[in-house]
C-alpha cells in the first residue's frame, strides 16, 4: 500500500478501502522504523499529520475532496512551515520556526495533503549528494552505502523508501532531477515562475524552482495542479490561469519530435547510460515519436556560468543570516564584528561558506564584468541554443546524470567533481525551462533516469510524454527493498 502511486492511493481513499488516518498512521510507523537508518526526515510532525488526516477523512466524507485530499506528503526543509522547524539543512537555522507557510505548503494543505514532516537536504540546497546537511547524510534506499543525490535527497529517499506518497523538492541546478534519477523517481522542475517561491528559502533566486518528486508522471501532474499558479507575493511568479496538468496525459505521441543533443551523446557518456537511453528512444519511437539530432553548443559553459551566478545571488541571499534577529547566534560576542564573524562562521558549513566566498568574489569591484556579466551573457547564449533547438523539435531527451548513485564520501572532498554532477541539468535552470527526470532503466541494481526538457510552459507536454513512456515500461514501478 505505501508504495502505491498517489493516483492509486487517491482511488483507494475514494473507494474507502483505506482512510486517510490509517494511511497516515501506516506511513508514520514506517518512518519510525526506517528513518533512523535513512535519515530522510529531519522533523516528523506525527500529531499534526493525524489531525490533518482526520480532517481529510471528514472532507472526503462530505464529498468536497481534491485528488490529493488525504495523501501523505513530505516537504523539503527549505519550505517554511508555520509553527514547525524549518532548518534548511543548516546549523544556522537549527532553531528557526517560521510564523508562515510557504505558498507551496499552503496550497498542498488546501488541497488536503497531509504533511508527515520535513525532509533532509544539502545545507541551503547547496550540494548534489545530501552530504552537506548539518543533520548528516541521507542514505539511498536502493543501497544505503550510496547517496540519494541532492539537494532534495531527503525527499527523494522518503518517496523511494515508501516513507510518504509524494514529496516537494526544489531545483536550482538539478536538485530535483538528479535525486529523482538516483532514487528511481519522477521529478519535475517547472518553468521558472510557474510555482511561487514565496516562503521557500532562497539559494539562487533567479534559478530556484519548486517541483514534485513522485512515483509517476501522473502523480507529478496531480501535484502540479495543486502547487502551480500565480501568486501576488512572488513578483517573479508568472500570471497564468489554472492549468490541468493531467488533461493531456493520455494524448498519443504520434508526430512528436524529440531532439537528441549532439553534445550529450558523445563518447564521454557512460556506455551503460547510453544503452539505457537508446532503449528508451526505441520505446518512444514505437509510440510514434521521431528523433533528430540537435545542438546545444554552449552547454559546456553552463557549469562555470552557473557557479558564478548561483553563488553571487546566494552571497546576498544568505546575508540575512547574521545572528541579529533569528537563527544561530554565537555565544558572548565581543562586539558587532565578532557577532557577525562567529555567528556566520559557526552557523554555516563549509560548502555554504565556499559559495558565499565565490559569489562575493564574483561580484567584487574589478571582477564583476569578468565574472558576473560574462556569466549572464553565457546564460543568454544557453537560452538561445534551446530556443533554436525548439524551432525543430518539441522537446529534448538526454541523460539526467552521468551515472547512478555514487558512494557516500566518494566525492565530498572534491567540490569540482561534485559540481560536474549537474552537467546535464544546470543549463535547464539557466534557461528557465521545464525539465524532468524519469526512470529509464537499472544499472547494477540501481535506478537511472533520463531527462526531458521542453520549451517554456510545456510541462503538460513533458508529463504527457513521461506518462506514455511509463504506460509502456515499468522502470518507474521498481521499488527498493528496504
Amino acid at each position: 500500500m505505501l508504495s502505491k502511486t498517489v493516483a492509486e492511493l487517491s482511488g483507494a481513499l475514494t473507494r474507502k478501502e483505506v482512510s486517510a488516518r490509517e494511511l497516515t498512521q501506516a506511513y508514520l510507523d514506517k518512518i519510525h522504523q526506517l528513518n533512523p537508518a535513512l535519515n530522510a526526515y529531519v522533523t516528523i510532525t506525527a500529531e499534526q499529520a493525524l489531525a490533518q488526516a482526520d480532517a481529510a477523512d471528514n472532507r472526503r466524507a462530505k464529498g468536497n475532496a481534491s485528488p490529493l485530499t488525504g495523501i501523505p506528503i513530505a516537504h523539503k526543509d527549505i519550505f517554511c512551515t508555520r509553527g514547525v522547524l524549518t532548518a534548511c539543512g543548516s546549523h544556522m537555522l537549527h532553531n528557526f520556526i517560521a510564523p508562515y507557510d510557504a505558498t507551496v505548503v499552503e496550497r498542498l494543505e488546501q488541497a488536503g495533503a497531509i504533511m508527515l514532516g520535513k525532509t533532509n537536504m544539502d545545507e541551503f540546497a547547496m550540494g548534489s549528494s545530501n552530504e552537506t546537511s548539518w543533520f548528516g547524510p541521507v542514505r539511498n534506499p536502493w543501497d544505503q552505502a550510496r547517496v540519494p543525490g541532492g539537494s532534495s535527497g531527503g525527499s527523494a529517499a522518503a518517496v523511494a523508501a515508501g516513507l510518504c506518497a509524494m514529496a516537494t523538492g526544489t531545483d536550482t541546478g538539478g536538485s530535483i532531477r538528479q535525486p529523482a534519477s538516483f532514487c528511481g523517481l519522477t521529478g519535475l522542475k517547472p518553468t521558472y515562475g510557474r510555482v511561487s517561491r514565496w516562503g521557500m528559502i532562497a539559494f539562487a533566486s533567479s534559478l530556484d524552482q519548486a517541483g514534485p518528486l513522485t512515483r509517476s508522471a501522473e502523480d507529478a501532474a496531480l501535484m502540479m495542479n495543486a502547487i502551480a499558479g500565480s501568486d501576488l507575493r512572488d513578483s517573479t511568479c508568472l500570471e497564468l490561469g489554472f492549468e490541468d496538468f493531467t488533461a493531456k496525459l493520455n494524448q498519443p505521441l504520434a508526430g512528436l519530435r524529440i531532439g537528441l543533443p549532439r553534445e550529450h551523446f558523445t563518447k564521454d557518456l557512460n556506455p551503460a547510460v547510453q544503452t539505457i537511453l537508446q532503449n528508451a528512444i526505441r520505446t518512444l519511437e514505437s509510440l510514434g515519436a521521431s528523433f533528430k539530432e540537435v545542438s546545444l553548443p554552449n552547454n559546456y559553459l553552463s557549469v562555470p556560468a552557473y557557479y558564478v551566478i548561483a553563488p553571487a545571488e546566494a552571497s546576498a541571499n544568505l546575508s540575512r543570516f547574521d545572528g541579529v534577529r533569528f537563527g544561530y547566534r554565537c555565544e558572548n560576542p565581543d562586539n558587532l564584528e565578532d557577532l557577525y564573524k562567529r555567528s556566520r562562521g559557526e552557523g554555516f558549513g563549509d560548502e555554504v561558506k565556499r559559495r558565499i566566498m565565490v559569489g562575493t568574489y564574483a561580484l567584487s569591484a574589478g571582477y564583476y564584468d569578468a565574472y558576473y556579466i560574462k556569466a549572464q551573457k553565457i546564460r543568454r547564449l544557453i537560452k538561445q541554443d534551446f530556443d533554436l533547438a525548439f524551432n525543430d523539435v518539441d522537446l529534448i531527451l538526454g541523460p539526467t546524470s552521468p551515472h547512478t548513485a555514487f558512494k557516500l564520501g566518494e566525492k565530498v572532498s572534491d567540490p569540482v567533481t561534485m559540481y560536474l554532477e549537474d552537467i546535464y541539468t544546470i543549463a535547464v535552470n539557466l534557461a528557465g525551462l521545464p525539465g524532468m527526470s524519469l526512470p529509464a532503466g537499472m544499472l547494477n541494481g540501481l535506478p537511472i533516469g533520463m531527462q526531458l526538457v521542453g520549451p517554456s510552459l510545456s510541462e503538460s507536454r513533458l508529463l504527457n510524454v513521461a506518462h506514455q513512456f511509463q504506460m509502456n515500461t515499468d522502470w518507474h514501478s521498481q521499488r527498493p527493498e528496504v
Binding site: 528557526f96 514565496w198 532562497a202 513578483s235 517573479t236 546575508s319 534577529r325 533569528f326
Partner: protein, 478 residues
Amino acid sequence: MSWETVIGLEVHVQLATKSKLFSGSATEFGAAPNTQASIYDLALPGTLPVMNEEVLRMAVSFGLAVDAEIGKRSVFDRKNYFYPDLPKGYQITQLEFPTVGRGSLKIQLEDGSDKVIGITRAHIEEDAGKSLHEDFQGMSGIDLNRAGTPLLEIVSDPDLRNAKEAVAYLKKLHSIILYLGISDGNMSQGSMRCDANVSVRKKGATEFGTRTEIKNVNSFRFVEKAINYEVQRQIELIEDGGRVVQETRLYDSDKDETRSMRSKEVANDYRYFPEPDLLPVIIDDEYIAAVRATLPELPGARCLRFVSQYSLSEYDADVLTSSRNMADYFEEVARLCGDAKLSANWVTADLLGLLNKNDLDITSSPIKPSQLGTMISRIKDNTISGKLAKTVFEALAEGESDVDQIIEARGLKQVTDTGAIEKLVDDVIAGNPDQVAQYRAGKDAVFGFFVGQAMKISKGKANPAQLNELLRNKLKAE
C-alpha cells in the same frame, strides 16, 4: 588666493505612502519600536519583495516636475553591506537604470537672477531601520519601523557654488515635493535628509578638488552653516599646505563644526547586482501621460498665473507660491473676498509677519482663510476701514473667531451716514478757524490735519472717502 566652492547635494526624500516600498507595513512616524515591521521587513527567510505601485507614481511625478527623463525600464539592484539595521544585508536600490533620469531645477539667487541646477538622477530605494545606542547597557537596540520605507534619492549635479545656493536649491526642492504631495518634507523627523558633497578649487581651475561628504544635515539653516564651516576648513587646510581627504563628515550643530566620521575611509565595495526577486519596472507613454495629468500646478507656473490673473507683482506672486499651502491659502482668501490685490497685501505683510513672529507654518495659522476673507470683505463693503481692520486682525490672531462679532463688540463699524459725517465736518471746521484760513489761503497740506481731527473724534470710524469729499466741499464752499 581666490577660491571657488563646488557643491552637489544628495537629498533623500521619504515618500508619503501608506505602506512600505516592498511590504504592507505602515510607514507612520513615531510608533513603538518594531510595531511596523512585517516578516519581510525582518528579512525572515523565504519572504519576497512586492513593489508598491504608489512609489512609482510618486517618483514619476517628481521626474515630470523637474523636466526629467523618465526611465521607461527601471531596474532594482542589491547594494550589499552588513549592518544590524539593514535586515537583509542588502538595500534594494536602483543603480544603472533609475526611474528618474536627467532633469533640472531653476533657483532664484539673492541678486534676483535665475540659475539652473542640473539634477543627475533620482532613484527609488529602501530606507534602513534605526540603531539605538542609548538605554541598552552596552548593547544596541534595533528599531525596524523605518526599514523598507520608500525613499527617493535626488542627486544634483555639482552646480552649486555656495551655501546660499545650496539652501535655495534645497528649498525649491522642498517646495516641489510639498506641491506634489509626495512627502511631508519634515526635515527634523528625517523625511527629507541632505548629504552635501563639498570641495573647493582655485578660481578658474577646471578640475574638481577632493570632496568631502557631509552626512544627514537636518535643517536648511544647518545645511548653510555646515557647508560654510566645511568650505572654510578646506580652504584653511589647503592654504596651510595640507590636503583634503575624501571622507564622510558629520555636522555637529552644537559646536557648529564638521568632523570626520571614519578615521580611515576604506572604499566600500557594495557589490551591486540586479535584484533577482523583482522584475524590471516597465512603463509606457500612456502611464507617464496619466501621471502627468494628475500633476498639480507647480510653483513656477502658479507664480506666472498669479501675476497675470491677479495682477500681482512678481515679488508677491513668488512669495505666495513658495509653498503650495501658502498659495492655496491666498487663493481661498482672494476667492472669498473678491479682491486679490488686497488679499495679497494682507497675506504677505500682516499674516506672514504674524506667522514669522510666532514661528508658525501657514498650515497652523491661527487665522483661517475664511476669517481673513470675511475681514477683507468687510473692508470692501465699507463696514470697517482698512486701519481698523488691523484691530480685527489682532483679535483673530488672539483666537477670537467671528469677524462680525469682533466689529460689533468693539464698535469698529465705519460711520457712513452722510448726516453724521456732515456734522463731524462742520464741528471740525467750526473748531479750527486758523487752519481753515490757512487752507483757504492755498495751503493744501493742511487738509490732512482736518482728516486727522475728524478721524480722532470719530475714533477712526468715519468712512474716509465720504469724509474727504465732504471736507473738500465744505472747505471750498465759503
